[in-house]
């Protein structure tokens, strides 16, 4: 059973055999060691997120060794002399201690914070890659949903994290959290009392920081870790998607083997991620809590900004008109409730529903392993860019005071600008994006039909100059021809007057309308054999194409 390569060093062979005798693990290793990993730069975005999370676990654990999650009031006498004699919570004092008395403590705090920022940024970029290439399509919807939950948890985890040191900035964040909680109808004040253990900020027993601490270092990271593990296992099992290329097909995956190539590359990537967060933490200052001072409910530092991933909420709160309804002895704070729930609800809820919506509209129930180029799904790409615009505008609105200051416009005007732009921007973005996609499709069609310019100018006997076109290279042709052209719609009723399946009733009507919208204006890109000489499309490719045809 255990015959490894003859030259394997004793230590390796010994331990592999030890495991195999007990777990039968060699079967697993044999099957998986040479797993093919398709390659594309955008596939690294998820890895950045993964590795920043590992960095967060490592540095966070270091911080817990000194951090005191306590709201107990102390008078600071320590090595940051400017705050000597100042009343503060033990949490804040211990964060100062980590920064100024524990060697490497400041570095770890800064790496922890930078890694948190990188984690969220990488998750966002990774999600966009998955969305725009349609990689979330069947069979990968579950991993898409897990990703959305991870994003949400990351936001909450980050909010709780920067609340822990109990400085002026984090206290302001908590104050806003409390105000938003209070706006929840019916149970808001109860939620507030139960979270804080009484009134803001200390409650009856100073419970808040200890509670946030437990959530931040145990519960949420535990859930994130479990979900990340599931995410990776599902990815491994389903195999990675591949970018369309000559070598990829729905039936086969092409790439370098996990062992040794991918393993080495991903190892290098971990070190890059760690190296870059370390570099940022060496040369830049992030969250210098000692400059903000301890939390004081009556004070606020002007121009304080939350971490970037909270910017959308901040922006939404800023541009919302001041609507509030008071009736029958109750108050409904739409001015808080709407911005706190609607934008993220639209983005996350929409993202979660999207794969299922798309499947319903297109009626496409096949599995997809080769992803789609964004231009070949103009509606999806348009909606994606509209969502990014929506998010981006809210995010910018969260810094409207900074923008007003930078561009010397009145603050109120920036608010009004965003109030309009938040509706107009996404619509405009959708239209423009869709047009661009169609333009690119048109160009693709032209490339297939006429080839590419060769740079060779020929003169005809009559003296006319023209540029010679040559057929496009095979691998590029394969990429272009990965487009699946829209099919002519099935007639709504067939010969004997029976409606086509899925078109009955109001939902059927809606579905067929949306379906038409999905493929409207599609530019067919096909090889009509102008340059008859090359037909050596690979077998897998053709099989894939046939399968495409069949399953409608």
């Amino acid at each position: 059973m255990s015959q490894t390569a003859p030259a394997a060093p004793k230590a390796v062979e010994g331990s592999l055999n030890f495991l195999d005798d007990r777990l039968g693990s060699t079967n697993f290793f044999k099957r998986n060691a040479r797993k093919a990993f398709p390659d594309h730069w955008s596939f690294m975005l998820g890895e950045i997120a993964l590795y920043s999370f590992v960095i967060l676990l490592l540095t966070g654990t270091f911080l817990t060794l000194w951090f005191k999650p306590s709201m107990h009031e102390v008078i600071y006498e320590g090595s940051y002399t400017k705050l000597n004699g100042v009343k503060m919570s033990e949490a804040y004092a211990s964060a100062l201690h980590i920064s100024f008395d524990v060697r490497g403590g400041l570095l770890m705090r800064q790496i922890h914070h930078w890694a948190a920022v990188l984690f969220m940024a990488a998750i966002m970029a990774h999600m966009l890659r998955v969305f725009f290439t349609g990689a979330y399509r069947k069979p990968r919807e579950l991993n898409w949903l897990i990703g959305i939950v991870l994003f949400t948890l990351g936001m909450v985890e980050g909010l709780f994290g920067y609340s822990l040191p109990d400085d002026l900035l984090s206290g302001t964040g908590l104050r806003i959290t409390q105000g938003v909680l209070e706006a929840v109808p019916l149970v808001g004040t109860y939620g507030y009392m139960f979270l804080f253990g009484g009134e803001f900020p200390e409650g009856n027993h100073g419970d808040l920081i200890p509670r946030l601490f437990t959530l931040h270092v145990l519960l949420i990271p535990g859930v994130i870790l479990a979900l990340v593990t599931a995410h990776m296992m599902i990815m491994w099992h389903q195999k990675h998607t591949a970018m369309p290329s000559r070598n990829q097909s729905e039936k086969q995956v092409y790439g370098y083997p996990f062992y040794p190539v991918f393993m080495a590359k991903t190892g290098a990537f971990f070190m890059f991620t760690f190296g870059v967060t370390a570099l940022l933490s060496t040369v830049t200052q992030i969250n210098p809590i000692w400059l903000y001072g301890p939390y004081d409910p009556g004070a606020i530092s002007a121009g304080s900004q939350p971490d970037f991933y909270m910017g959308v909420l901040e922006g939404a709160l800023r541009i919302m008109p001041n609507w509030e309804i008071t009736a029958w002895g109750h108050t409904l704070s739409l001015n808080v409730l709407i911005p706190a729930t609607l934008p993220l609800g639209i983005v996350f809820g929409g993202a979660a529903a999207w794969p299922f919506l798309e499947r319903w509209v297109t009626g496409d129930n096949r599995s997809h392993h080769v992803v789609e180029r964004p231009r070949n799904a103009p509606v999806r790409t348009g909606v994606g860019v509209a969502a990014v615009t929506f998010y981006g505008l809210l995010w910018l609105a969260g810094a409207n005071d900074v923008l007003a200051d930078k561009f010397h416009v009145e603050l109120f005007k920036t608010t009004w600008f965003f109030r309009v732009a938040i509706f107009a921007g996404p619509i405009l973005a959708y239209i423009v994006t869709k047009r661009i996609c169609l333009g690119l499709q048109r160009r693709d069609a032209a490339v297939i039909d006429h080839g590419v310019e060769s740079g060779i100018i020929v003169m005809s006997p009559e003296g006319k100059f023209s540029e010679r076109h040559v057929p496009v290279r095979e691998e590029e042709k394969a990429v272009i021809l990965s487009k699946e052209n829209a099919k002519p719609e099935a007639p709504a009723v067939d010969g004997s007057g029976i409606p086509a399946p899925g078109t009955k009733g109001p939902m059927g009507f809606l579905r067929s309308r949306l379906n038409r919208g999905w493929t409207l204006d599609d530019i067919p890109v096909e090889d009509r054999g102008h340059h008859g000489e090359h037909h050596e499309v690979e077998e897998g490719e053709r099989a894939g194409a046939e399968q495409k045809e069949l399953s409608r």
């Binding site: 000559r246 290098a268 933490s281 606020i300 001041n322």
Partner: protein, 370 residues
């Protein structure tokens, strides 16, 4: 995961494209040159990989990688050496200067160690690994119909054997037993905090005024937040400026001073009496134009801490709600829906005093507020 027939490819799957027509980036204007600009990820092989290595180039690459690894080694050693040998001098690291220094050294050496290793491994992969790309089947994930059917049968058989389908009484009582068990943990959370009751309706000003009145005084003195110095009317006689005040005795007499301060912080502003709106004048809660408003923004509770003297606007820095100090803190812009509640002021023995609590709940709105 039962795959990998491992078509470790020899000849038929070349990672590199053979010659052919001039290449161009798909989707950008065609550069009419002979340039190859395939998107990087087009499974083009890492340079060198999958090919016979040119032994000389390989030797060179090996030396580069090895130097990078040595550099990483040196950086880690420097990290340890700095930590042990230098960072703890003169009784250890204390204060901002030394923290900065240690951040620079520890962070710098650590960065170098990681990046040198990362670059080294990357060059190794690109220049020295001889792995060929592999092609593997993507199997259908779903089980075939026969398996599905047979499992469906197994499932039903099991259910029948257990009797759960045949004996509804068992089924229903089991569900009955499970339901409250699921609720029990929620009940356990009840002691997370007190019920809201009327807590959010009043502030410490009310209690302080009551105590003062019990001693036969007109109201409670306003003290400056931070120094706790009582304020005389004459201290604040010139228009302009803004200070933050709290009721006298809030730190000594209240059970949770920070919570009380978080509700009771009040801003004091001196507006020219002739600028005051008729509505405010009718209230008569000012002392010669000195007015007091709750500092807690009615939006989501940030301290409304900015005051613009020329326009008499109070501005909350969080989301820019703007209140007019001359007109009972009416909202003039921003997301806040309600004015900042005003505190009734009077003068007693030359001191500023409050004669009652805020007439309405301060801070953000809530459902029961009405």
């Amino acid at each position: 995961m039962s795959d990998n027939k491992d078509h470790s490819t020899g000849g038929e799957q070349q990672p590199r494209e053979e010659g052919g027509a001039p290449g161009r980036v798909v989707g950008t204007p065609s550069p009419a040159a002979e340039r190859r600009l395939l998107p990087e990820g087009d499974t083009a092989a890492p340079e060198g990989a999958g090919e016979e290595l040119d032994e000389q180039a390989a030797k060179r690459a090996e030396r580069v990688v090895a130097s990078l690894f040595v550099l990483a080694f040196a950086a880690s050693v420097a990290f340890i050496a700095y930590y042990i040998g230098w960072s703890g001098r003169d009784g250890g690291m204390h204060g901002i200067e030394r923290a900065r220094e240690s951040n620079l050294w520890l962070g710098g050496t650590m960065t170098l160690a990681f990046l040198a290793m990362a670059v080294g491994i990357t060059i190794w992969v690109r220049r020295l690994m001889t792995s060929q790309p592999v092609v593997q089947e993507r199997h259908e994930l779903r089980a075939d119909d026969a398996t599905r059917e047979s499992f469906a049968k197994t499932f039903l058989e099991g259910a029948q054997e257990s009797g759960i389908t045949k004996r509804p009484l068992l089924r229903r009582t089991l569900l009955l037993a499970a339901a409250p068990l699921g609720l029990a943990p929620l009940v356990l959370l009840r002691d997370l905090g007190p019920l809201p009751e009327k807590r959010l309706r009043h502030t410490y000003w009310g209690e302080a005024v009551r105590r003062a009145k019990a001693q036969g005084k007109k109201g409670v003195r306003l003290v400056v937040d931070g120094t706790n110095k009582p304020l005389k009317v004459s201290d604040f006689a010139t228009p302009g400026g803004m200070i933050t005040v709290v009721p006298e005795g809030i730190e000594e007499h209240s059970e949770h001073p920070l919570n009380e301060i978080a509700k009771a912080v009040t801003i004091l502003i001196n507006v020219p009496p002739d600028k005051m709106s008729p509505r405010m004048r009718a209230r008569g809660w000012d002392v010669n134009g000195i007015v007091a408003y709750s500092k807690i923004c009615t939006h989501v509770g940030c301290p409304a801490a900015l005051y613009e003297q020329t326009t008499h606007h109070i501005l909350c820095p969080c989301h820019q709600s703007t209140f007019d100090a001359t007109d009972a803190a009416k909202v003039v812009f921003g997301p806040a829906a309600r004015p900042l509640p005003q505190l009734p002021l009077a003068e007693e023995d030359g001191y500023l005093v409050a004669t009652g609590d805020f007439p309405e709940p301060i801070g953000p709105s809530f459902w029961e507020r009405g």
